[in-house]
């Protein structure tokens, strides 16, 4: 099922319950409910969000810090409004911590490698740098 289709059932009952006669263009203010995802009313409901946040957090341990970052990005309203959604917030905050730690480690290694260069590593640098590896394995050809 597509995102654009299956959230109709989510959208109309919420709007019916919380109908607000004041026309504003801010989807967050016009209904008294805060949506947990960054897509607002087009995104997930709260129940599905808990499941998603937990699954993304768990999958991120497979060397996928970008998945943690996507998790934080997607559930950004959860991070902003610190009172709502305690269960989702748990997973999202842990994803954010995991992403920051991994980024620090990876960028430390990458910067050491690129700035240190040959002086720090010696001949190993030439063996590890990507364009040489690609040449050796013939990856930069197109066929």
């Amino acid at each position: 099922m597509e995102a654009s289709r299956s959230d109709d059932a989510n959208l109309s009952p919420n709007r019916d319950r919380r109908s607000n006669p004041n026309p504003t263009h801010n989807p967050i203010l016009s209904s008294s409910q805060i949506w947990p995802t960054i897509d607002g009313p087009l995104g997930l409901t709260e129940e599905a969000s808990v499941d998603y946040a937990r699954r993304f957090y768990k999958f991120g341990f497979a060397l996928l810090p970008w998945l943690w970052a996507v998790n934080c990005f997607y559930f950004w309203p959860v991070l902003r409004h610190s009172r709502a959604f305690p269960q989702i917030r748990n997973h999202v905050v842990r994803s954010a911590i995991g992403f920051s730690v991994f980024t620090v480690l990876l960028s430390a290694w990458a910067l050491t490698f690129s700035i240190g260069g040959e002086q720090l590593f010696g001949p190993v640098w030439d063996k590890l740098v990507m364009y040489n590896v690609a040449d050796r394995l013939g990856l930069s050809g197109l066929t």
Partner: protein, 393 residues
């Protein structure tokens, strides 16, 4: 209060928002492909025809020493082979969809997205690293590429995901495949584009066309075709009467100051139709398989929420046209870009009139090809003469 507010959102706001929602990613895709072409093809000495062999060059691989007639003939043969392969693959897709092998199709789509992102994406990144001599090490590169591809597969495969990230990944996939198609030989590229435009027209509009069969099956079963389709974010207008679902279906263009009742009725019809689980506006997709047999879609249609859907194949072939124009000069790029956007606008207008699946390739590609040759043969001479005589810069 409501009336003035309604008039304040003129037709440009609502219509324009939807148009921008589809024109922006197309433009970004084309711009990125032109950028890649300009960055990576800067040495004219590299023989592009020799280094890329695929099903599109299976019948004939161009070499510079052939006569124009031989090149043309060879290009026709190549295009024939390619279109035949695509037709076969599309009929296979229709068969699988008919036999309800949806899980297999979804897995295949995820696998093909992974292959494109990891393989083609990795190769392009390596080319860029090579070109700029960027001192990244292989471990970091592998980790980043792995992350990028796996999250891309999630974005494409999972139905509920961040809209922005899904759209971004679809554009990236389009860019990667388009860049590889620009490496085909020149004559083959142009003849192939025209052939695909004709095939598109036939496959969507003819009653026996595979894509039309696919769309009709999807509509009759009220199911989704699992394929790579770009869907613009549905426009949610905050209606003063908030008891209704704020979705808008693209009907005939009504004047913006239409009465409230008319707009209420329009939105109410949408809501009722969606509640009855009958798709008032069909999910319109057409599918094609690539030479590496991925399920890309072409064609433009309307999602059930009224958002415009454009198949990824359209992104790819628009970008191939513009990328190939970039290999000649930037002047042809501007001409082709404007032609393609004009063609897309015409297609969107036709979509609003006919309200059914339409091929998005023919108008744009034909306009683009015509303008490319006009710019190359006539405009360039004119502008160069003017500039060299200091008449016009």
């Amino acid at each position: 209060m409501d009336r003035t507010e309604q008039r304040a959102r003129s037709i440009l706001d609502t219509l324009g928002e939807e148009l921008i929602g589809i024109l922006t990613p197309v433009s970004i895709c084309m711009f990125t492909v032109v950028l890649l072409v300009c960055l990576l093809n800067s040495d004219p000495s590299s023989p592009s025809s020799a280094s890329f062999s695929s099903i599109a060059t299976a019948a004939y691989s161009e070499s510079d020493s052939d006569s124009p007639w031989a090149k043309l003939l060879g290009a026709f043969l190549n295009s024939l082979v390619f279109v035949a392969a695509i037709t076969l693959a599309t009929f296979l897709l229709v068969l699988l969809f008919y036999l309800r092998c949806l899980n297999f199709l979804k897995l295949y789509m995820a696998f093909s997205a992974f292959v494109v992102l990891a393989n083609l994406g990795g190769e392009i990144l390596i080319l860029l690293i090579d070109r700029f001599r960027f001192p990244i090490d292989s471990v970091t590169f592998l980790i980043l590429l792995f992350n990028f591809s796996v999250v891309g597969v999630f974005a494409v495969f999972m139905s509920r995901f961040s809209i922005l990230i899904t759209q971004g990944y679809l554009v990236v996939i389009g860019v990667l495949v388009a860049y590889f198609f620009t490496m085909l030989p020149e004559w083959t590229t142009w003849v192939l584009l025209v052939a695909l435009a004709v095939y598109d027209l036939a496959a969507v509009l003819l009653p026996v066309g595979p894509l039309r069969l696919l769309v009709e099956m999807a509509i009759s079963r009220d199911e989704d075709i699992p394929a790579l389709v770009y869907e613009a974010r549905p426009v949610i207008r905050n209606h003063h009467d908030s008891r209704l679902v704020q979705r808008r279906v693209w009907r005939e263009q009504r004047p913006s100051n239409s009465s409230d009742d008319v707009e209420n009725n329009e939105v109410v019809t949408v809501v009722r139709a969606e509640e009855e689980v009958s798709v008032s506006v069909p999910l319109i997709e057409r599918s094609r398989a690539e030479e590496s047999s991925e399920t890309f879609l072409e064609g433009i249609g309307l999602g059930s929420s009224g958002a415009i859907k454009l198949g990824l194949g359209d992104f790819i072939f628009y970008s191939v046209l513009v990328g190939r124009a970039a290999m000649y000069d930037l002047m042809t790029v501007y001409a082709c870009y404007l032609a393609i956007i004009a063609g897309l606008g015409v297609t969107l207008m036709l979509l609003s009139v006919y309200q059914k699946a339409l091929p998005a390739l023919p108008v744009s590609i034909l306009l683009g090809v015509v303008f490319y040759f006009l710019a190359r043969l006539f405009l360039e001479v004119f502008v160069v003469q003017c500039s060299s005589n200091l008449v016009m810069f």
